[in-house]
Symmetry: C3
Subunit: 675 residues, 3 copies
């Protein structure tokens, strides 16, 4: 059952909470769903207090009716286990299920997504509920997939978690000597002599100024890993409870893209398919959600994922919640498909009448109209998806460029005292991703443990920690003739964030052919222009002073006492023309583009429309070998492009001969089936 | 005893704390009071530890001497019950009287205004003290008014309050079903099955990022109402204890104007007269304190109030504490009288020698001089008030314009997730008030439950919640030929902040003749110019997209995909030329002026000096029908105005014939008795 | 044993933590130490868990080897007592040794420098450890000095501290009446009737918005004094334990310069010599560390101190950690010597492999190289210091200008409500220091209790509290013909921060010949130009309105209603031409320069290079009377100066005749032995 659920078209619909409404509203809902081409409903996400109103009472009456009503209308159900928000009686009976926060405060009942992952009561009751639901609905004909819990996240610092953490550590390290060595506890006289002395790293123990400031990175790294595993344990327990009754229906839980608290790479093997909720930050460029899509696709080795949530119009949780303007929803939805989504789903079908999400956009608003602009746009997209049918399902991305994404490096870098608190992992990773994507390269975003043998180019920005055999595998890329790009603040620490006792960049040194003698960091507004010959890129934040050990300079600093020394280098490696590129500072976009395009062009990976600003391309190859080329115009002007081979636009049916011009409206989308 | 205390002139004086000083200082004080025309002293505000040094010991020796000394000098006393700051022994003996804060932390002894309103010990001891004081001084000839406690405020989240909250809810809702429905608890599986499951909404339960971010608005709204009522309960209990001994002397407590935590409209019926402490924010325009004055006047149906505190010179509690420049104190004091104040009082008579208010301005400074600039200004004002005598006492404002002010809407709007956290209730309400006042209209600031039948114009900006029969009463205004103005984000929720299941603006829709199809929100710096024909107003923050349902456009958006759609509309309503105006976005001052002046001019409510920048006018009508016209020059230049009818300036005695020019100095004041 | 340790050259080296490393690394270290001229190592700072792995187990094996290894290499040891970071077992066995923070939260195990100073367990165990170490190493030939604990700081608010605070108060005040009077508790009904009612002033009691906002300054001032004394008690206890075994070796602890939490003047008598860790704030001008050096030198009456820590390259703990550029380390090190340092030491000798300081600069980096730029610079400085030898040791600064530095005033001023929270004590004190230093005056930075009889000029900016006989001693300076300069917000309070019941500036009034009638404060961006005749200085923040009582105006305000009134005054005082200068507002640098230079020039204290921007001069006189003139070029350009008397540069051996030009490179240093 590994893989997305089997469907014949792109599932379209989303989160639906009819339990909040009288049944006459349900009828109106389904009528509107029909108008909008909606065939898939995620139900039950927050129904625990409904399904289990008391410890010994389960009541499925309402859920039965919801599911049956959907089935009667010919719709499929993604069924949630409902365990993401506690019922009040549970919190009252078992106060320890409420988390203790980073500040050491035991919370009381409220909100959601805030159960202690180490609580035996939570584990018992949530798995029992999941099992009961599975038992009841496993064979329901409308059932399409299982949706465990919802948006797992956060962390707990209670005594139960402390005890579980100690067990996790004992399992990992075996001995306190190994742990003391890994965490380098001698530094401040923290040598543990008994496991019970270890406390979760919090504002009351190792931290100050918040989660990124820790006295010992080792313990904090391990607590994040432990938290990842503890929540994963909750997922796995529910999944097993479901599997006992439903051995074949695919199981997922909805992720949140680049979500820092949880290392999704540790979760990926346990999901049948990946799914995620896309709410890009305000003013994010289109490559931002694209990066997240590719990261999610990378979770299951490139297999398609589901877009489990997006808003049809606005969010509500931000200080400012701009509207998706006409065309933006369509464009974002096709972008998801272009990057591997096999479903397009919304949060939410009908706007809540009360509570904090009542202003979150919905397919159906409070007045229940079908003549709002938003409804019309949703319905239009539904019809379009319907027209395309199942052709995109199961397709994969034939990328020859990989970008390494590593939660451990993210965590370690951003919790580091020195050199600069201003370097943001996501921003830098995105800057390299953006450069590759706008150059027209398809990119796989993969974990550091991924098989790299299929790639010509590996981008490894801010590879702060180098773990296991990664350095050797990167060298192998170059030995095959490929190119590896890494940056400042890479190769600094091992898996415990202990410095390598060698020159920087540690195990990446031979491949890069440089050593870093020292490093400077400066305030955000300070720049050192980096000279590429015909381009000057104002570098910022961190400036490593590089001493070449075989590498040749590509660009140099132009000011300060290290003016003239290399800021970017390339190093011939191996016998087949492979190279290691080292970028010793934070370039601006133009500088990053220069580096990345130069590398991609070595391998013929520059796309045909790389010079057309705002137009994104993405390729998918279907199981039967059909090549699909997605053209997405993120710009506000019309664009005319030459078509390079015979193709048919799946959205319009229009056929193009090679060289024929193709017009893309502002925010326009074209899905070409290449001949 | 409803109404302000009976006096023959405007009471002048303020807070006086001689218990901090040896008695020789008292003599100096009274000598200076004489020089300054001070006849009224508020005493006893922070005397609990003095009056009751131990649980079983009361000692009135010092207070007796203070009151007698004042009486001997011919001064009247506003006597406080002294219960606003706990004595140390009480906090020690009953730790539960110290509040538990929003973060869940039980406080220890310190500060003031921080007793738990649900504490039985506090209730018992405070009412006992109030009763003892009343018993002793009820018949003292110097007694003018009772001053219960001081600046009630804040909130507590302790177990006692939780229990009291549950009782309050049970009283309000009767059943948990009703409560679950009101709070829309099904949304996140929060259906309560036992009253004991309900916890105060705090940082540890339903909130994140502070008091404005709640998962469930319903519980948070109710907790604010409960807090209002709980503190009101403390007031009422003290008042009853006082009344038992003093049935006729008016009772008040000093409010704080637009103070968000407490809904003063719930308190108003329980006060004999309203009083408040005016400390306008830094750089507040003169309409800001004016709005607060009018709000306070509105508490008792337009009856006069007392200005209980203001600083003669500077505050101390702010980061920056500018001096009131020469003339500003006088102008602000007369402005208070112009808006309904029947007393002008200061905090404080003599500067404290120690503790956090020692730099707060005082009539008498640390050196005890009578030749400081501040003392001279205070004395000058005292003489001027004395010259005017009692003519203003009891006068009322003949306003034909009402502005609705609604704490529930304020709370609901600002705790809302979406559309924009940047909209501030006070700012928007003030912007409409400012527009009306600078156009020369007298304005009553009234609760949404007020009788609106006397008004030609009702301004209802940000009327987020529409409760009870308000919509019908607003329609009745228009049916009589009047005009109602409301804005974006109005008509959104019922009294529980549940969305109306109709088009926006909910029950206001028929009167406004529009429906809002969707809404956009943007960052603070983003503007969409709204076109009025000859004026463009850069609108900001929230942009509702209006579909007229009978209304005609007054102004339109000029950019974005909704360019050309209405931003301001007017709707003919009823048979007598009444209108409903809808302003779908946040206009700048010029745009708001345009809307409000156009509306006021329909009803002939533009004042004679509406084109004279900086000059405020206000009208009061005395009990004998005398019309007083206050002219206040807030500008820094001299202004010459034509007098429109025969009048006499009460401050100078100068008589004016119609058409005669009247000169107002910078910061000048004129109180015209109209013929 | 009062005084720095006896050495024959400037000790050079720093913190060394070989216990973190295998012994083969130690050999490499000592080899590199030899290359760098390093002769002094501070060891044992964080070794508690190593030396005492269990309550009853002490193990000195590793420390023995470290000390012996150093001795074998001919290096001297500064031996720490290792008590600054708790071992885990101790925190587990005695949870009360972990502090309770300002928010009332009991911490768990973690970090360092966070033991409760009132904990009996900590006191017992730390003194036992110190005694054991002293017993073992007192007679070791490598021992040069004792280093108690490390960077004492912070505060605790636990029950043990509350109890200790009450005892401290009882000792200080004798009676509650005295305490109530000192704290002015009547103000808000806080009259204590039992010592047990007193709670530490924290976020849960008297404070809001943090440590600077207190309802009662008296209790908060006393708590800071108590905290100073409580931590001092820990130091003294350890020192006594050391002294029992080591009666002659000098004892110190490393201070942190202008460190607000602790009043180092209360500590100074208990140290044998002062030492401190210099990490100037980002972008601090060179006078900032200079001020700190002079403050540290002032602790022991002008005796030399040790620079115990500085970074050879970068810090790690800041958001941004710039590199010390080539030449900066050398310049900063010689600046320390110029101001009285008799040692130049680093944190740290070898970079930690793990934990939060692994990126902090070190003499030896992770790769162990001796060919890094930093190592070369360190080695170069070591050789230079070696060449100069012992000539600077024991020298003193012949200053005729004193600057008063007063922790009580700092605390009182910055915890004051009103007039302005924007006035920063350090910034203003620095501005006067900077003006004097850049004019070429040597300055002693002394406590308010210092003997002032040797000074011609006393600068007393922001002398907020005037305690004891200080006013009389300042008058004595003027009576001798000297000049005293003070500023706005001086002379405001007594030692309890109670206002003086006289005109401002209180006891300074007669000397200054002014009274302050009132004061204004304005937002940061607002300025009032102060007119000096040929100079206008834009004054900011606070504007006192001065009424001369004998003083003559030096400069006047130019705007606002007090335009034309004095902003700076001078007052002839006494028979010998002495003067009191009063600066009633915050001038900019040019204005402060004008005042200070005018005062210095009265006494012939303007230095020979006062007009040469960027060049700092400092004088030291050695025990044998040799005069040394340090010339330090902080500028980025070469400077040529005339030499004014016969001199020899100790660094180059070059001799100069009077009038001969002396060239200083950018960041250049010259140490002239004057003939």
């Amino acid at each position: 059952m590994n893989g997305v659920p089997a469907t014949t078209a792109i599932p379209y619909g989303g989160d639906y909470n009819p339990e909040q409404w009288p049944e006459e509203v349900w009828d109106a809902d389904h009528r509107l769903f029909g108008k909008a081409g909606i065939d898939t409903l995620t139900v039950g996400v927050f129904t625990w207090s409904l399904l289990q109103p008391a410890p010994d009472t389960y009541d499925f009456t309402v859920l039965d009716r919801i599911v049956d009503r959907a089935a009667a209308a010919g719709r499929r159900i993604v069924l949630a286990t409902g365990t993401a928000a506690l019922p009040p009686w549970l919190a009252k009976a078992h106060p320890e299920v409420n988390r203790t926060d980073f500040e050491g405060r035991r919370h009381g009942y409220g909100q959601r997504h805030n159960f202690c992952p180490s609580s035996p009561a939570y584990r018992r009751l949530s798995t029992t509920l999941a099992g009961r639901i599975a038992e009841r609905y496993a064979d329901h004909p409308a059932l399409l997939a299982w949706h465990i819990n919802n948006e797992y996240g956060g962390a707990c610092y209670c005594g139960l978690c402390a005890e579980a953490f100690r067990g996790w550590l004992r399992e990992k390290y075996g001995s306190l000597d190994a742990l003391n060595d890994a965490w380098w506890t001698t530094f401040w006289s923290h040598r543990y002599t008994d496991w019970s002395e270890i406390e979760p790293p919090s504002a009351l123990t190792e931290h100050w100024r918040g989660p990124n400031h820790t006295a010992f990175q080792g313990i904090t790294l391990d607590y994040r890993r432990f938290t990842t595993d503890a929540l994963l344990g909750c997922f796995v327990a529910e999944k097993e409870a479901v599997r006992a009754h439903s051995p074949h229906t695919p199981v997922t839980t909805n992720f949140m893209g680049m979500y820092r608290p949880l290392d999704y790479h540790r979760w990926a093997p346990h999901l049948d398919f990946a799914s995620w909720d896309s709410y890009p930050p305000l003013d994010a460029p289109p490559t931002w959600p694209a990066l997240a899509h590719d990261l999610m696709r990378g979770l299951k080795g490139g297999a398609p994922f589901w877009l489990m949530e997006q808003t049809p119009s606005t969010t509500a949780c931000r200080d400012v919640n701009p509207l998706r303007r006409p065309g933006e929803l369509r464009l974002a939805s096709w972008q998801a498909v272009a990057h591997g989504a096999d479903a397009v789903l919304y949060f939410q079908m009908r706007a809540s009448r009360g509570a904090c999400e009542k202003y979150h956009g919905a397919v159906i608003g409070h007045a229940g109209r079908d003549d709002t602009r938003v409804f019309r746009d949703v319905a239009g997209l539904g019809q379009e998806l319907g027209r395309v049918g199942g052709v995109t399902l199961g397709a994969r991305t034939p990328a020859r460029t990989a970008l390494l994404f590593d939660w451990d490096s993210w965590w370690a870098l951003e919790m580091s005292d020195g050199p600069s608190r201003l370097v943001r992992y996501q921003d830098v990773v995105h800057s390299y991703y953006r450069a590759a994507r706008t150059a027209g390269a398809d990119v796989d975003v993969v974990p550091v443990t991924a098989d790299l043998s299929a790639y010509d180019v590996v981008l490894a920005p801010l590879l702060h920690l180098v773990k296991g055999d990664l350095a050797a595998r990167l060298e192998a890329v170059a030995e095959r003739g490929g190119t590896v790009v890494t940056t400042y603040l890479s190769g600094r620490g091992d898996e415990h964030d202990r410095a390598f006792l060698t020159d920087v960049p540690g195990p990446l040194g031979p491949l890069m052919g440089v050593r870093v003698d020292e490093w400077d960091s400066r305030a955000a507004e300070w720049t050192n222009p980096v000279d590429f010959g015909d381009l000057r890129s104002p570098a910022r934040l961190v400036f490593e002073l590089v001493v070449p050990q075989g590498a040749e300079p590509v660009a140099t600093y132009t000011t300060d006492f290290y003016a003239g020394t290399p800021a970017v280098t390339r190093n011939r490696f191996g016998e087949r023309g492979g190279e290691g590129w080292y970028v010793a500072t934070q370039l601006d976009d133009a500088g990053t583009d220069r580096v990345v395009r130069q590398v991609l062009s070595r391998h013929g990976l520059i796309g045909p429309y790389a010079e057309v600003a705002g137009v994104e391309t993405a390729t998918r190859v279907t199981p039967d070998g059909t090549r699909l080329l997605f053209l997405l115009n993120h710009g506000s002007g019309e664009v005319e492009l030459p078509v390079h081979e015979s193709a048919t636009d799946l959205l319009t049916g229009k056929a193009y001969a090679p060289g024929e011009p193709l017009a893309l409206d502002p925010l326009g989308v074209c899905v070409l089936r290449l001949a």
